[in-house]
């Protein structure tokens, strides 16, 4: 019997051009690629506007390094927002939860622990961070319980949370700003101290490259086990090369941003180093908050793609009733998602408190909108069931690039908001068109 379906496929394959065959072989996510393209265009545009392609101020190691640090807090929360939006929920409270948890961590290390165990103890940061994560998980769990088991829509519960936790953050210290933070805790915020230096950055980069190659090899071996179709070897090698190039490139950029002169001078004095004639160049390397964000992204990607929980999240988003009938405890899964979101808010709160070196009650204001925008620009569908962690993190980077580029150009604040608003709507519109074409 001749098989019309197969012959049709073959006919289609021969029709494909070189470019299309390339995409088919590498199985690249064209959507993600489009986002990276948009990011590159935005970066080049800012580079051009800030002094031309060569002399521009945007694509300098310094600015890119700062950009990476500024993105971390939103990027961490965006990974959790993906799960929430995928299951057709929303969380409007993340900015306020960040503020409240940040305040709790600030008060713990600046006012409570010094009285109990003294200033600058080795475990101060552990206790403060641990308490923050527990409080974040409890807040998320509580909101998740009300949503999943009491049946109140997530929009309402988290809108209430937006007000409640902002008010609570205010209440903790009656509106007072709490400072300074513990010096070890502060490393989570970046800065010259909160970066891992050139050597360790290269180590991280090389380990990442080995992990990429290892994953590709393992994937091939798995598919070989059952004789499934595999990607061509050249496509695999090409993907590995690109990924390693990007990782090592990023490390190199971070290592080309040197400590500011003033800090180098202080450091030299403190360590009895004489500064050579040409000046002393100490590279920052990768910032600790960036490492935290990347690690969060990797863990969350693992959770969404390799665990039962992640599978259920996407199944529920596609068809909640079907997930129920398949025997999934959808309520408990929903509650777990909100617990994860609460923990991520606490981590983001630690990053931003450490970076500011203070806990203020306005901290994280409007972060919920930045987080939702990052997830949506990153391809998370508000209709549920679709979204990737990597996309959301790139979305966060894109939003932050716009912000920092416009600040660099000296655009007025109201104009900045107008641009960000328009970009959000246009991005989702383009995505809608893309989905309609590929569906």
């Amino acid at each position: 019997m001749s098989d019309p379906a197969i012959s049709l496929d073959r006919a289609r394959a021969s029709e494909l051009g070189l470019v299309a065959r390339f995409f088919k072989a590498t199985e690249l996510d064209t959507r993600l690629l489009g986002m990276i393209g948009a990011l590159v265009i935005i970066w080049l545009a800012f580079q051009f506007l800030t002094g031309g392609l060569v002399n521009g101020q945007f694509l300098t190691p310094r600015n890119l390094w700062n950009l990476s640090v500024q993105t971390s807090s939103i990027a961490v929360m965006a990974t959790g927002m993906v799960l929430i939006i995928v299951t057709r929920n929303i969380d409007l409270s993340v900015g306020s939860v960040l503020g409240f948890v940040g305040m709790v961590m600030g008060v713990t290390q600046a006012e409570i622990l010094p009285k109990l165990i003294g200033f600058e103890q080795p475990f101060t940061w552990v206790i403060a961070l641990g308490l923050g994560i527990v409080v974040g998980a409890l807040i998320g769990g509580f909101q998740g319980f009300v949503i999943a088991f009491l049946g109140v829509p997530a929009f309402i519960v988290t809108l209430g949370g937006l007000l409640v936790w902002r008010g609570a953050a205010w209440w903790v210290t009656s509106g007072r700003t709490v400072a300074p933070m513990d010096s070890t805790f502060r490393l989570m915020g970046g800065g010259p101290e909160g970066s891992i230096g050139a050597t360790w950055s290269w180590v991280v980069g090389i380990v990442a490259c080995l992990a990429i190659v290892g994953m590709i090899v393992n994937g091939r071996r798995q598919r070989k086990r059952f004789n499934f179709p595999r990607r061509p070897v050249w496509a695999e090698a090409f993907m590995a090369a690109i990924a390693c190039f990007l990782v090592l490139g990023a490390v190199s950029i971070a290592n080309h941003y040197y400590w500011p002169i003033g800090i180098v001078r202080k450091y030299a004095e403190a360590n009895n180093i004489t500064i050579p004639d040409g000046g002393l160049f100490i590279p920052h390397g990768i910032a600790i908050p960036v490492l935290i964000a990347v690690a969060t992204g990797i863990i969350m990607t693992f959770v969404t793609t390799r665990t039962r929980f992640g599978r259920y999240v996407f199944a529920m988003g596609g068809n909640p009733e079907a997930a129920d009938l398949a025997g999934i405890n959808t309520r408990w899964v929903t509650m777990k998602i909100f617990i994860i979101m609460g923990i991520l808010c606490a981590i983001a709160g630690a990053i931003s408190t450490a970076r500011l070196n203070a806990a203020t009650n306005a901290q994280g204001t409007l972060d919920e909108l930045m987080t939702i925008a990052a997830a949506v620009i990153g391809g998370t569908s508000l209709a549920g069931g679709v979204g990737t962690i990597a996309g959301a993190m790139i979305g966060a980077l894109l939003m932050q690039s716009l912000n920092s580029g416009m600040v660099m150009l000296g655009l007025e604040t109201p104009l900045q908001n107008i641009v960000v608003g328009i970009v959000l709507v246009v991005a989702v519109w383009l995505d809608t068109i893309y989905r309609r074409r590929t569906a």
């Binding site: 059952f226 499934f228 599978r311 996407f314 068809n319 009733e321 079907a322 997930a323």
Partner: protein, 259 residues
């Protein structure tokens, strides 16, 4: 079928009401191994609701369900699956955004020794079972949303037979299918039947199921009009049961029969 055997499933006097409307009112049906029982009735007669009680989607208000003669506690779909009851829903109940293998194993995923999803192993057995049902099926990497109606139907059927079901519930299994695929489903039902699986076949169209079933049970307004062996009644008589609630001499009348 022999009457001496213990029924595979014995639904007795089951009732369920939604806000004052008695969707199922004291219904009793049984099913023997290797038997196909067609559950017939108009839209809204209560047949889908009764079957959802058995599959664990709804919790009954009263009545008992016995599986293999022992009283069964079915409070959710997981309980039902533990008794070997698998359901193919009218809506198919597929998770649209994940692929075929993920759907087949939804809620019962295969795991690697490290506690992660074993996608490759799941895809492997998905390919095996789909090969049996629909040899031309190739789109294992696509979310099931992208599949055609017939392909989606075969995914739903594959999911039900993958886990060695003893009791299979098929709610309008051929609603989305063309004539050729409908015939395939008929073949499949005969094959499963010969393996000793009991099948509830639900339909509002008697012509679809009359030649496949051993017995028919007719429902109207939430009550059972009557049950009959297909050899004892004609299609027209069954039609009379469905439309008028009139029980012919060859059938055993239930509480819903008009005299």
């Amino acid at each position: 079928m022999t009457d001496a055997q213990t029924p595979l499933v014995d639904i007795e006097n089951v009732s369920i009401a939604f806000g004052g409307i008695r969707a199922v009112d004291g219904a009793s049906v049984d099913l023997y191994p290797g038997e196909v029982v067609a559950l017939l009735g108009h839209n809204g007669a209560g047949k889908s609701t009764l079957i959802k009680v058995l599959s664990g989607a709804y919790k009954r208000d009263s009545g008992t369900i016995r599986v293999n003669g022992e009283e069964a506690t079915i409070n959710n779909p997981r309980d039902a699956k533990a008794y070997g009851i698998e359901t193919i829903y009218q809506t198919l109940a597929l998770a649209d955004n994940v692929d075929t293998a993920a759907n087949l194993y939804l809620g019962r995923e295969l795991m690697t020794p490290w506690g992660t999803l074993d996608d490759v192993a799941m895809e492997h057995s998905a390919r095996e079972v789909m090969d049996r049902l629909n040899p031309r099926f190739q789109r294992f990497k696509d979310p099931v949303k992208a599949l055609s109606g017939g392909q989606r139907q075969s995914v739903a059927i594959a999911r039900a037979i993958l886990f060695n079901a003893r009791i299979l519930i098929m709610d309008e299994p051929t609603a989305a299918l063309g004539p050729q695929e409908t015939a395939q489903v008929g073949e499949l039902i005969k094959q499963l039947k010969s393996e000793g699986i009991g099948i509830f076949l639900i339909s509002h169209d008697i012509h679809d199921v009359f030649h496949l079933a051993d017995r028919v049970a007719v429902m109207k307004n939430g009550q059972v009009v009557g049950t009959a062996k297909v050899t004892d009644v004609t299609e027209d008589e069954v039609l009379g049961m469905i439309i008028l609630g009139k029980c012919p001499p060859g059938a055993i009348p239930g509480p819903g029969a008009v005299n």
